[in-house]
Amino acid sequence: MNINNSQRLFTTLRIVRNKIASQSRVKPFMILHNKVLKEIAEKKPSSLEELSKIKGMGQKRISQYGSILLETISNFTPSSTHPQEKIFTVSEYVDCLNQILVPQRALIKGEVGKISGRDRYVFFSLRDKDEDAVLNCFVWKNVLDNFGITLKEGIELKVEGFPKIFKSRGNLNFEVERLGLLGEGSLKQALEALKKKLAAAGFFNPERKKSIEKYIKKIGLVTSSFGDAKNDFLTHLGRFGFDVSFYDVRVEGLHAVDDIVSAIHYFNESLSDVQVIVLTRGGGSLESLQAFNSESIAKAIFASRIPIITGIGHENDETIADLVADVNASTPTGAARVLSDPWRNADTLLNQLQNDLRKSFLTLLEITKDKITSVENLFTSIFKRYSQKLELIISQLLQNSSGWFKFLQTKLDQGEKVLNLIDPQLRLKQGYSIVFNRTGKVVKNVSQLKIGELLSLKFHQGEALSKVEKINGK
């Protein structure tokens, strides 16, 4: 195989390998090293056995990539004297180039040059300060918003992304997926601008902050497993039977924003019995705390159903995350204290409550005793007062009894006399008589009488029947 052909086969194999790498989102060298590919291109193995003789082709790689490598080799047509057998269309060739370019992810720093924005995306150039080198960049507007960055000519940036040729324009752009500011000045400016924006949107309003239960058991811890913050927090938490679920995140660099936002979502969606989320990291420069000053994290904290305590940096570091958080505990230790102090003081509180309870109950007993005594006294005094009055009445009655009886006797005599005066028997005795008609009624007037009517006469002694013969004075 001539050198030209093995070189071409090498290029083809590389394209295949890079495609696999980009599909499985790993760096190309992790699939197969260029060195291994070169040897394959030179030896052109035609079976798995031959392939396995090549250094770097272990059992695992053979089983993963063996068949596709052999297929590529068998499909490869060596060029004859005229090497332009395969004619690409422009589109095919740009695709081919992009397969190589896109996996070349990188983190690049530079100064922003020309900017031309559209509705949803922005083109800008990134250049070195001292050297004459320019990289054309492309970024979606929402990426800029998420990282809270407003592009301005002259600011220093670090950008992460990948190169790509835009087919319709034919030029190469670096597509920015993550970016951060460099330089204290622009960081401060960006911070102030975002603060203003979020304050206007009500993100810092005290009335919308969620309250945190006093006695917490379940904690969602969001921090890095590296660094002191995690240990500071756990050490100062004390031993009060906390249930800590730890979500490991990067707290610095361009991936920190995504990690932390995912962690907050994770607890809200998958571990919703967590009573509080603690977001913490140690101190650092304004640049290293950049993630905590991003709009994305501010929004995630704002939207979290579970209350969030922040302990970020040192006492005097105040990030946007701190301002949005429900409780800003300043440091990892401070956050631990907020959660553990109520438990630490619980014993004292219980003693106090017990004393209060005992005192209250004793007071209640005293009051009740007093009440009983006073009711008793009331009865005694009533009894005393009334018994005195009764005694008075009785003695008065006894003293005046003789006069009373005389008075009664006189009254009785008088009554008898009156009764005697009106007794009809007495009248009859005196010679009067009473006339009744046949129905037994006393006749008082002649007008009721008829000639021939029978009347009975009652005398003092005996009765007589008579007949009306004549009526006068009718």
Binding site: S24, R25, V26, E213, K214, Y215, K217, S225, L234, L237, R239, F240, G241, F242, D243, V244, S245, F246, Y247, D248, V249, R250, H255, D259, A263, Y266, L271, W343, A346, D347, L349, L350, L353, Q354, D356, L357, S360, F361, T363, L364, L365, T368
Partner: protein, 68 residues
């Protein structure tokens, strides 16, 4: 006894009992019942404070080599 003891709720109830005793007119029977309940809650709270060891679970390890 409740199936699941909640320390916060117990403290809240104790504080309510404490407040109840501040009333002007209170009934002795009710007072006795509250006193008994309070004493039981305090006992349970103290028992609860004895269980101290923390639990630690790592729910997500964000060491993602592929992304780096």
């Amino acid at each position: 006894m409740e199936s699941k003891f909640d320390f916060s709720d117990a403290i809240k109830e104790l504080e309510e009992i404490s407040l109840w005793f501040q009333n002007e007119e209170i009934d002795l029977d009710e007072g006795l019942a509250k006193f008994k309940r309070g004493a039981a809650l305090i006992k349970k709270c103290r028992e609860h404070l004895k269980e101290v060891e923390n639990q630690f679970t790592e729910v997500k390890k964000e060491i993602d080599i592929e992304k780096k």
